[in-house]
Amino acid sequence: MEVNPYEKVWMGITITAIILMLIATVMAGFGLGVQLPGASQTVDPKKLSSEPPFNQPGVYEVAPGKYQVIMIAYTWAFNPNEVRIPAGSEVTFKITSRDVTHGMLLEGTNLNIMIIPGQISEITRRFDQPGTYLFVCHEYCGVGHQAMAGKVIVEP
């Protein structure tokens, strides 16, 4: 096939770029520890109020400096909607939905996860900088979607 020499150079650049992007993606995942959510436990949304752990939503210290947040998303709020932890804590969020699909995005971070009924979303992040951080529902969940938000308060 007749291929213009410039085109061959261009294809070389393209393939090099793809290889570099792949390396960067793998490095971010395995080198820098930017983990995507993966296989998860399932849960029956109708039994949230009767079965642990979601029958007692809240913030729990599970070891020194390590916290677990058991959270339920529902139309149109998070429970709990305020997470208070000391700076330097490692926090694991375990979240599920009682009704439709929701999402959670914590401002200024890459804490960004879907909350799908029937699945438990699990995500761990470290909070070093004191301050108040807004988190919002980022998937359309009905006419109250724009009211669904909460705060992570990192205390000095």
């Binding site: 096939m1 213009n4 960067a24 971010a28 959510p37 439709v100 890459n110």
Partner: protein, 543 residues
């Protein structure tokens, strides 16, 4: 062109433009809402709130307009490229009937506020069954029209052994095959999961499995929107700038590349989903990156064709050729501006497909900012450019108010730059998508400037859409017939089809390869998910 086919195509293009008219005029309401100017009260009682308007905007533009226009354009390129009548015309006409029914059902249920679920309609939020039946009818109708086009091609190939399929037909038919393969996902979702559940025949559904099947179709949908624009950029635009297509074989190779790589990529929309194993996310990220190859080939070939045309007309220097392209022709201007915008859309797409970067922008306003560069400009503005010769060709009238038409392309371009800049920026600052900010319970001072840009963009886009429809309606309503038939601008190629290797016109191996990649990319995970189906969600009406 035979009258029967002309009427058939006119119906599809006409209905598509009707959907675009309603869908697009709602867009500025969303954009202005983002700068906290809530004009929705003006639309009462027709539309009761932002979410209903957003649903209508998304469904009519992204699903109804695109699918109807593309079916019409494919039909046009099939019969004009092959120079024959449409085979199985009755089937195609039935298909159009299904599409019209789908348009009416989806449109009515949305306007009645019975389906405010947005165009992604993620179960378990539950609309009236008629909404889902309407969308399914739209897709089934498009399948039938596609079968009729493929039958036409098959008959032509049988009668013309060894002759290369004309490029405009080849590109469109690859897209038809892509569509048949890609819509298996939403087809199964609708027929097996959603419709029985919406009719209360099954008590509960699996929300995650619904998302997987939706995005099985949802990403190749993006290429289904783009490939007709590429057909125009490869096969028509070079002629419109008085040049030639740079290379016929490379154009064909890129179409095959899109067919094989574009379906098994949907998990890059679900990087943030729990319940999808990480390994599948990385496999789909890899396959998404491979789509970069045909995309960059397209960029090279199209720009090379344009550059050679511009130099032939006396353009010199590194960029001097650009000014020599027929910028005064609104159809050319629309397509060149689309291509320019698409550069940024493509780069944004690579960012979205990278797992780690996706976590920063997933479900923020960045995402609609991105797809307004791709589907709402690269595709839509190109389609508008096509209508500047296609509507005259079909109606046998010259384009009226060409200066207004030209102004519509520039205002669309400028409006989209403002809108999209605002949306991308706002997304990086953490503003979620699909939120009416004027009534949100949260706000951030740093959001105000990009929010204002978004609103300004929406206002300019309203001007653009108005100018566009003024020119189109003036053409349709004009009583003057054109003196000569309006030419279909089909370009010749510098590296001609006769130099194209035969394997680039063997259809079966490429199709089989595409099917194998879909089986690899989705087979095991879908078997696993259907085997352990987690149908625990009853329906919720949340509006």
């Amino acid at each position: 062109m035979i009258n029967r086919e002309r009427t058939f195509i006119t119906f599809q293009v006409g209905l598509a433009l009707a959907a675009l008219l309603v869908g697009t005029l709602l867009g500025p309401f969303q954009a202005l809402e983002h700068s906290k100017i809530d004009l929705y009260p003006l639309l009462k009682p027709l539309i009761s709130n932002y979410y209903q308007g957003l649903t209508i905007h998304g469904v009519l533009n992204a699903l109804v307009f695109t699918t109807l226009f593309i079916m019409g354009f494919h039909t046009f390129c099939t019969i004009n490229g092959l120079n024959r009548r449409l085979k199985w015309f009755g089937l195609a006409a039935t298909g159009l009937g299904f599409m019209v029914l789908g348009f009416i059902l989806a449109g009515t249920t949305m306007f009645l506020n019975q389906a405010t679920v947005l165009y992604t309609f993620y179960p378990p939020m539950k609309a009236t069954p008629w909404f889902y039946i309407g969308l399914t009818s739209l897709i089934v109708g498009s399948w039938m029209i596609g079968w009729s086009q493929l039958a036409t091609l098959a008959e032509w190939k049988k009668e013309n052994p060894g002759v290369k399929t004309p490029l405009i037909t080849m590109g469109c038919m690859v897209n038809t095959i892509l569509w048949q393969l890609a819509t298996l996902g939403i087809g199964i979702q609708m027929l097996v999961l959603v419709i029985p559940w919406a009719l209360n025949l099954t008590p509960a559904t699996d929300a995650l499995l619904n998302r997987v099947l939706f995005w099985f179709t949802g990403h190749p949908l993006v290429y289904f929107w783009l490939l007709p624009a590429y057909v125009s950029w490869y096969s028509l635009l070079p002629r419109q700038v008085e040049g030639k297509l740079f290379s016929d074989p490379l154009a064909r190779l890129s179409f095959w590349g899109f067919l094989i790589f574009s379906t098994p990529v949907g998990f890059h929309h679900q990087f943030a989903d729990p319940g999808v194993p990480v390994v599948w996310k990385y496999i789909h990220a890899l396959l998404t990156f491979l789509v970069v190859i045909p995309s960059f080939m397209t960029a090279f070939t199209v720009i090379a064709s344009l550059e050679r045309a511009g130099r032939k007309k006396g353009g010199t220097g590194l960029f001097g050729w650009i000014s020599r392209l027929n910028w005064k022709n609104p159809s050319v201007s629309a397509q060149l501006l689309s291509g320019l915008i698409f550069f940024f859309g493509g780069i944004g797409g690579i960012i979205n497909a990278s797992g780690s970067l996706n976590l920063v922008i997933h479900n923020t306003t960045w995402v609609p900012g991105h797809f307004h560069l791709t589907v709402a400009t690269a595709t839509t503005l190109t389609f508008m450019g096509i209508t500047f010769w296609l509507v005259p060709h079909l109606s046998r009238k010259n384009l009226k108010l060409p200066k207004i038409a030209l102004a519509s392309t520039w205002t669309w371009f400028i409006g989209m730059i403002f809108f999209s800049l605002g949306m991308h920026w706002l997304g990086l600052l953490g503003a979620p998508r699909r939120v009416p900010f004027s009534t949100a319970s949260y706000d951030h001072p740093s959001w105000h400037l990009p929010q204002a840009l978004t609103g300004i963009g929406g206002a300019i886009l309203l001007v653009a859409a108005t100018l566009y429809f003024i020119s189109i309606f003036a053409t349709i309503l004009s009583k003057e017939k054109a003196a000569a038939p309006i030419e279909i601008p089909i370009a010749e190629a510098e590296i001609e089809p006769s130099h194209t290797p035969a394997w680039l016109d063997y259809w079966k191996p490429w199709i089989i390869l595409a099917i194998i990649l879909v089986i690899i990319g989705y087979g095991p995970i879908l078997i696993q998910m259907f085997g352990n189906i987690n149908a625990v969600s009853p329906g919720f009406k949340v509006w």
